[in-house]
Symmetry: C2
Subunit: 792 residues, 2 copies
């Protein structure tokens, strides 16, 4: 066991504190007035529906995890291409993520009626309950992710695992978290939109009853959907981003230290633990952030919004200061400042993206209003304008990310050491997400307020309570833009860092094969016949791997992988959109049936069969989430087996770039359509009931699966594909059909075999020969330089 | 002057024959019965409108070309980063392309009334006139492109230009053709959709008069639009693809020969001329193909369709056979068969993509019918289903292209010599497009039939004539799928080949700087201090450039370029969609005004002001095409100046992959929406006037700019960006801020500077020193191997 730096203990301390405060806030909210009997009954319906869904969801996901666990065991013990602990790491990642979703939803479903009740007193009271409930979600996610990381790290370290093994094993619980996140987002997204569309299409349009009307059988399902999609889904999503960024950065620290300092364990330990420490402090600052919000007691809407934003900005500034000291204390003098700057860049990029999102989707600004205006010409022009807005809106976030990544890379000395530059990029993501506890709380209180509104409506509370919950909802929507910016920005940064982490796992894949074959792998680059031109895999840098696998622009396997990756992002979106359509179709039929068959339902005398609608949404979500998830999981494996490592990296790059742009487009188009409709509803361009309104409703309906299902899922998809590649790296190295595994006949014609590199497996006696031959040469100072320059 | 292979003369012979037959067919069509006075008058209106537009368009484009010409002159004589002949090559590329569009449209506008008149006799007669007119377009494009290439090649060869210079200069007239094509497609696409939407929205929906009604002021503009968009636009588009594929392949032949055979001029000549010869034979076969169609005299619709398809398939089989003999006679024994197989793969890929397009967009199949069915639920579900269909439909073409490119690369020995593999990919594109004369004729007769229908309607010909022209139109739509497949497939292949051609131009950029500075450039790779580790630029392979510029997955400049490229495809689409919207808005206002202000217009007594609508569409198109075109042209230059060669290649890869997928999505979604509407109109799901019909009309309106403006323009955009990069390669090499131009201080810490490569400019005396040092070494046999392996 290696002594960890004392600062590391901030990680478990931060996580335990976060969980502690989550528990405290949970009971604080729970002991609030739950409202009258009707309110409690409605809330209970939603709560039961939500738990019924979650039970079903976890059962389905559980089966998947079990199957994956079996496959991993075969890979670990049968094919020996996986470390035996990885299946367990995978499981804990999934379980903790699921647990976070469960706790968050438990809180959210308790909070809806309590928020509604609080709103009968004052807007501020309502905000406080909703925000506290949201912060339970935020702190739980942060706390559970960080405690999972801390425990694994501590235990593996005690068990004397070498550090490079520890980072490898831990990274793989990212895959558990991503899988859980994809299912949660997909299932939740399909559930909520099926119920939403079903409720609206039959209730609002056909039967002409208002939204959230208790006579509508799908209305409870709709409220359940807000919980399972926006609360549990988003929780799992950000759990994954958060854990992924910390773990990927730790893995990259491995590469950076090895390249610059060689086998310096103490240095390695500092690089690996630094992101955990930053996250730990971030968790503590998040708790502080939650309290900052709660100090304001008697404020108006705008002041509340300011208070909320202030809390995010304060924690951002504090985490920036903390990042300075942590990097200064933990990292070497030549490098800490660059890495610190990277963290700042990450933070700023996140805030900027949130800002641009706001500009392009809020109806306070021109862009969204232009969509409302098109309503005058009918639905077609609303759709065209929305799509155009969505596509155009990709420019600012892409440029922000591009500039941010480049600056983070440069400031972390990336041009001198690629590995250090990548570590900086990862650190930027960690900086951005360090205060997730409070930014997620911002995000989560929106759906809680939404649900409170539903509760108020169905319980026939006075109109002004409904107005207050709507106000809360709109405050939530505004502050949520920042949260979204962080989520999108960190996803891009983390995915970029995972590309490099993947190459580290390729090395590990070779190591596993080495253990299996009892021979040592050497990379034979550029069809060289010379024995001295071989690089032992254990000493190969990331750059050597790139040369070996020819992961460059003219390798068709790489380039075509990019094509496939781009295509997968589109096909995946198509599958999710169609899934929503199919599930919604079933819901429409059911609601129509109930309206026809249940006597007295329209007069409020007959009770609608709420549970049946919940079941339909649940079943629909469960069936429909399988195919898109499989596309994401299987593509990198299949392409890997066919095209090898270069193909996999191509797929990841294609999915990352196209997926990022497509996700921003769909999120922003969806958000803009939603708000364009709200703008018309606020009385502009004819107001409610006008033909403009009808046209913008079409836009909103199209936007729903864009922004709540396909868009958010793509971000997870991209990271899940990276995680799958990482876990399957050993399989691809050992079993792919790629040409690197075949030793070609040496050419006698003088024609260089441009793309025939191969691996040479040598026994120990052969190895001594090679080493002897290499010592004879006056190699230049860079031990792992693939281009061996010889001085004459 | 080097003696060209005798077979080369097939290129000028083919092109002159094509032009000759185009002239014959032109006069054959012209002497057909032009119909009654009314028909001639309507046709004249359209003809005048079309020429008025074309005049305006060419004026605008002329100004742009003039400006570009001046900029190029400055680059050539001032900065000395461009060969002085390139501005002229650029001009001829643009002028010949414009000429092809002019002739094609001249024919098309003469053919509309003649086709309508022929339809009064028989369907077959109508088809013959329309198809002959279409083949004038096809043969003109092929003839002009090939004659341009032949003349430049012949003259430069006579003037004793070295072959490598010839390929470089000629490639740059690809930029002229691409620029012309982008403007033609953009301007035409905006014009036609503005007129279409304007005519439909006010005429059909508001005033309730049928399509192509003479009372509608926008109806002439609508028919003009079919000509300028679908005829002239498509002609320029395919002119560019055709010339681009031949020129890019010739340029790649240069690299392949240099790498394998060194300075073998006769071999080089064979590689450079082979694609021209194949194209020449293709031109001859196209003429044959046109005649095959015309043999069938008294057949029904299905037989006609079969006859049309037969002609494409026959020419495809014949070109395949020709490709075998050409490669066998012209290329060396070890390589010809692989290159031949590449050509076959190209052909098959083109046919397959056409087939998949048909499956996903024709209402004979399930996919499109599923959209019609969604009409029952309203416009929102129609839109969602169409987008889902479009996104899903990207899978088959992408997989076809991926497999095709990979197989072409492998079969042409790409794993042994990247350059040979790329030559094979280029040859695949040439094979696919060799019979363009006949496939383009298939494409072009559709809009002619469409216009004939308009003419029949406005001239109040009997209903059954309109029915026949509609039948012709639908025959055209079906056969056009194959043409589209060829266009899309060849665009991807050509763009891929252009990536490599770009690197050849980078070498040329160095050469220009060498002339300017009087010093010789050496690539210093991997921060090596060793004098012997330098590679003279003139001997560097494509692979050396990749190593030098680090165009690999972990270079942030490359990766972020991919992000930018993907984003540009989306932003460009957004701009074109909004351009259509704005231009259509103006048209709507004008049509409304005329309906209100011109007395007796609705009773058919007042004459609408057709010309004014044409002017509005013309102006709209001219204004709106500037911004999207500038985005395409400036992005690679700006990114190049900031991020260097790696950034440029990233942008090209990102735009190619995302752009390809996005273009397929938009084309297919648009096509499917169009046909879904037609399916409902044929009486299904309620038929004309039902709510389903209204919902599918919304889909069709959204799809119009997708499939006729944004989608087709993206393909051109991608190639234009490549062409711009190629022409500006010298500027980027000499003036970009990228780090390769800065010589870093040698590190004494032992830390390898991962990304600090630089160019060393040495005088001739220094060069002798270097060469002496390199001779001392026992370098391995591969003269340009960047990884110099030393035997102990």
């Amino acid at each position: 066991m290696i002594e960890v730096p004392i600062l590391w203990y901030l990680a478990p301390i931060g996580s335990i504190s976060a969980l502690l405060f989550a528990a405290i806030f949970f009971y604080q909210v729970k002991k609030q007035d739950p409202g009258n009997e009707r309110m409690q009954e409605i809330a209970l319906h939603v709560r039961e529906g939500a738990f019924a869904y979650l039970k079903q969801q976890y059962k389905g996901v559980g089966i998947f995890f079990l199957l994956a666990f079996v496959v991993f065991q075969i890979m670990a013990w049968g094919l020996k291409v996986l470390h035996p602990l990885i299946p367990f790491a995978f499981l804990t990642g999934g379980i903790f993520s699921g647990l976070a979703g469960y706790i968050g939803m438990n809180m959210a479903t308790l909070a809806s009626n309590r928020t509604a009740q609080a709103c009968t007193q004052s807007l501020n009271k309502g905000l406080k309950v909703a925000f506290r409930a949201g912060s339970v979600m935020g702190l739980t996610v942060v706390g559970l992710a960080l405690i999972d990381i801390s425990i694994w790290f501590y235990v593996l370290n005690i068990l004397k695992f070498p550090l490079e093994k520890i980072t490898v094993i831990m990274l793989s619980f990212g895959m558990g978290a991503s899988t859980q996140a994809l299912f949660a987002r997909l299932g939740g997204g399909i559930f909520t939109k099926a119920a939403d569309v079903g409720a609206d299409l039959v209730g609002k349009v056909e039967a002409d009853i208002p939204e959230d009307d208790a006579r509508n059988p799908a209305t409870i399902a709709d409220n359940v959907g807000d919980n399972v999609g926006d609360v549990a889904g988003m929780g799992a999503d950000l759990y994954e981003s958060y854990a992924g960024s910390i773990l990927a950065t730790a893995a990259l620290g491995m590469g950076a230290v090895t390249q610059i300092w060689g086998n310096d364990t103490s240095m390695l330990l500092r690089f690996i633990t630094a992101p955990m420490v930053l996250a730990g402090i971030g968790a503590l600052l998040s708790i502080l952030g939650v309290f900052i919000v709660s100090t304001k007691e008697h404020a108006g809407t705008h002041e509340l919004m300011f208070a909320l934003n202030k809390s995010v900005y304060t924690s951002s500034i504090l985490i920036a200061i903390a990042a300075f000291f942590i990097t200064k204390w933990m990292l070497p003098a030549d490098y800490y400042f660059g890495v610190f700057i990277s963290a700042i860049i990450g933070l700023v990029a996140g805030i900027l993206i949130g800002w641009f999102t706001e500009l392009d989707t809020s109806h306070s600004f021109r862009t969204t209003r232009s969509i409302s205006k098109q309503g005058e010409y009918g639905p077609a022009t609303v759709i065209l304008e929305g799509i155009a807005v969505g596509m155009r809106s990709t420019a600012a976030p892409v440029i922000t990310i591009v500039v941010g990544i480049l600056l983070a890379f440069i400031s972390s000395h990336g041009f001198e050491s690629i590995e250090m530059g990548l570590y900086g990029i990862g650190f930027g993501a960690v900086g951005m997400l360090a205060t997730l506890g409070v930014t997620l709380a911002m995000d989560a209180f929106g759906p809680i307020a939404d649900n409170a509104g539903g509760n108020a409506q169905m319980s026939h509370l006075p109109e002004d309570v409904r107005e207050m919950t709507d106000n809360l909802d709109s405050v939530g929507n505004t502050t949520a833009a920042t949260g979204k910016g962080f989520a999108i920005g960190s996803a891009a940064l983390t995915a970029m860092a995972l590309l490099a982490a993947y190459l580290e796992e390729v090395r590990n894949g070779f190591h596993l094969l080495e253990l299996k074959l009892g021979k040592i792998p050497y990379l034979n680059i550029n069809y060289s016949a010379s024995i001295s031109d071989r690089i032992p895999v254990s000493e190969a840098t990331v750059k050597d791997f790139i040369t070996f696998y020819q992961i460059n622009v003219l390798n068709p396997k790489f380039l075509l992988g990019i094509f496939i990756g781009a295509m997968v992002a589109f096909v995946f979106s198509s599958l999710t959109i169609k899934a929503v359509g199919r599930a919604a179709g079933k819901m429409v039929k059911e609601v129509r049936r109930q309206f026809k068959e249940i006597p007295g339902i329209m007069e409020g005398k007959g009770t609608p069969d709420y549970a049946r609608c919940v079941t339909i949404s649940t079943k629909g979500a469960q069936q429909e989430m399988v195919l898109p998830a499989l596309v994401g999981i299987l593509t990198p494996i299949i392409i890997g087996l066919l095209f090898g490592v270069a193909g996999v990296l191509g797929v990841l790059v294609g999915a990352l770039t196209s997926g990022f742009v497509l996700a921003v487009m769909m999120n922003n188009a969806g958000g803009a359509w939603d708000n364009a409709k709200k703008f018309v509803e606020s009385g502009k361009f004819g107001g409610k009931g006008s033909s403009s309104h009808k046209a913008t409703i079409v836009g909103d309906t199209v936007g729903d699966p864009f922004k709540d299902t396909a868009g958010p899922c793509i971000n997870i998809l991209v990271k899940l594909m990276s995680m799958v590649s990482i876990v399957f790296a050993g399989l691809i190295v050992g079993y792919s059909l790629h040409l690197e595994t075949i030793k070609p006949p040496l050419s006698s014609t003088g024609l260089k075999k441009d793309m025939h590199n191969w691996v040479e497996w040598v026994s120990e006696s052969e190895q001594q020969l090679i080493e002897a031959s290499q010592v004879q040469e006056p190699v230049n100072t860079h031990k792992s330089d693939s281009t061996k320059a010889i001085k004459p």
